[in-house]
């Protein structure tokens, strides 16, 4: 199984908690903004859903070769 990376733009994040609700294993709220539990994760559709659900589009998920998986263009 290949690895994905999670990038979170702290400047854009407003801490709605949408990602922590969508993918509780992968995100946690710290000091009013979200942070990925691990920046490199095993493939998990929940991470893509979290990026798609973020109202601020503050989350970027990339595949091992750097392709952006979410949010979709």
């Amino acid at each position: 199984m290949s690895k994905w990376t999670i990038e979170l733009d702290r400047g854009t994040c407003i801490g709605t908690g949408m990602c922590t609700a969508t993918a509780p294993d992968h995100f946690r709220l710290e000091g009013g903004t979200s942070t990925p539990v691990n920046e490199t994760v095993d493939e998990d559709e929940a991470v893509v859903d979290a990026a798609e659900s973020c109202p601020m589009e503050a989350i970027l998920v990339r595949s091992a070769d750097g392709t952006v998986l979410a949010p979709q263009v």
Binding site: G15, T16, G17, M18, T22, P24, L29, E57, V73
Partner: protein, 394 residues
């Protein structure tokens, strides 16, 4: 101390009731009593609102519990669950189904269509000549057409649901039986439409929901119907009212209007600022219930107690917004809660922003001499506030 009677009287204009501002300064977590149900708290500061809306120790689900007696404005306790009365993971299960349909990128793809709708409506306004009522001629049709096309509601049916929706979002503007009958009609209508999508799947959100139910078992039939009704109402009453509200705000703030004429690139920032200051909600909002003891501004909220947040007074918290009552299109940072906050943050926020930007910028470009041509009376007793009519000339 004796709890205050809540909600506070609705102002005639889009201003915020002074009591909110006094409480924010002197009693940021205040005891309130609604017409029905148990007593509650009202939180008016930004930092507290953030906790109430986003901290998982606050829950929406208890309002659906049989014995709870939620604080409310109407005698009946609503017993039909919607996405707004759910917590994660149930809430997330529903929201994920449509999250992809509402991303900023997907919404951008609809900008061209929105522009065409606005252009067609304004062609008609121009052809008819002044005066015009922008509520009926622009604001409501823009919002209704877009959400209907996204959901897959046929054009011919739109007049029908417009009437039901107006009553379904009432608090005191209609009688309780009228409100219930309108809500039932809307559910029956969406139920029929769902059957129709089953027979004839299309490239629309109702079909996505039907597929998620029939093929993936991701939601129940009742949840499907509720979701459809919620999207239809929330997708047009709010944005339709805000288009009118924003035009009214600009026509009554000539300096800001002149600023937009001079520099139309300010429109997106103007939309954010108008979202921040405009009192859209006409209801006390949706209370959050503490699931554990939580401290807010030195007040302990006990587990089981309900807290209301008013987004618009929160948006005027001087701790976050300098000169909070000023309409300022140059704020570097504008983290307003006009779309709510937390997991219930409006799923249609990017769509609403786009519709507002297209409507305002096109209207100003095509009607540079626009002005009010009569008295503007605001609707009352409904979940969302907006003018009955917006008479203009040019």
């Amino acid at each position: 101390m004796e709890p205050r009677s809540y909600p506070f009287p609705e102002p005639d204009d889009l201003v915020v009731n002074e009591t909110y501002l006094e409480l924010q300064r002197d009693e940021p977590v205040a005891r309130v009593r609604l017409p029905y149900g148990r007593e509650a708290w009202l939180a008016t500061r930004y930092a507290d609102a953030k906790i109430v809306l986003a901290d998982p120790r606050f829950s929406r689900a208890p309002v659906m519990d049989a014995g709870y007696d939620p604080p409310r404005t109407m005698p009946e306790v609503p017993r039909i669950s919607t996405i707004l009365s759910m917590d994660p993971p149930e809430h997330t299960r529903l929201r994920r189904i449509l999250a992809k349909a509402f991303t900023a990128r997907r919404t951008e793809q609809l900008r061209e269509r929105a522009q065409q709708i606005v252009d067609d409506l304004l062609d008609e306004v121009q052809a008819q000549g002044p005066p015009a009522d922008l509520v009926d001629a622009l604001a409501m049709p823009v919002a209704i057409t877009l959400i209907s096309e996204m959901l897959g509601v046929p054009a011919l049916d739109r007049a029908k649901f417009r009437e039901w929706s107006d009553a379904a979002v009432a608090i005191t503007a209609f009688t309780v039986p009228e409100i219930e009958a309108a809500a039932a009609s809307l559910r029956a209508y969406i139920r029929d439409l769902v059957e129709e999508k089953r027979e004839n799947p299309a490239d629309d959100m109702l079909t996505v929901l039907v597929h998620a139910h029939d093929n993936e078992d991701r939601l129940t039939e009742e949840e499907l119907v509720s979701f459809g009704v919620t999207l239809l109402i929330a997708g047009h009453e709010t944005t339709g009212s805000e288009i009118s509200n924003f035009v009214y705000q600009l026509l009554t703030h000539p300096d800001r209007l002149a600023e937009l004429h001079a520099d139309p690139s300010l429109v997106p920032a103007a939309v954010e600022e108008l979202l921040r200051v405009t009192k859209l909600s006409g209801s006390p909002g949706f209370p959050r219930i503490a699931t554990a003891d939580v401290e807010l501004s030195g007040v302990t909220i006990r587990a089981g107690e309900a807290v209301f947040v008013d987004g618009l007074v929160v948006n005027r918290d001087p701790a976050v917004f300098a000169n909070p009552h000023e309409l300022d299109f140059h704020r570097a940072h504008n983290p307003h809660f006009a779309f709510g906050h937390g997991v219930h943050h409006c799923i249609g926020a990017p769509l609403a922003r786009m519709e507002l930007q297209v409507s305002i910028s096109t209207l100003l470009r095509r009607f540079p001499g626009l002005e009010l041509s009569g008295e503007v009376v605001f609707k009352k007793g409904r979940l969302v506030r907006g003018p009955e009519r917006l008479p203009v000339r040019w």
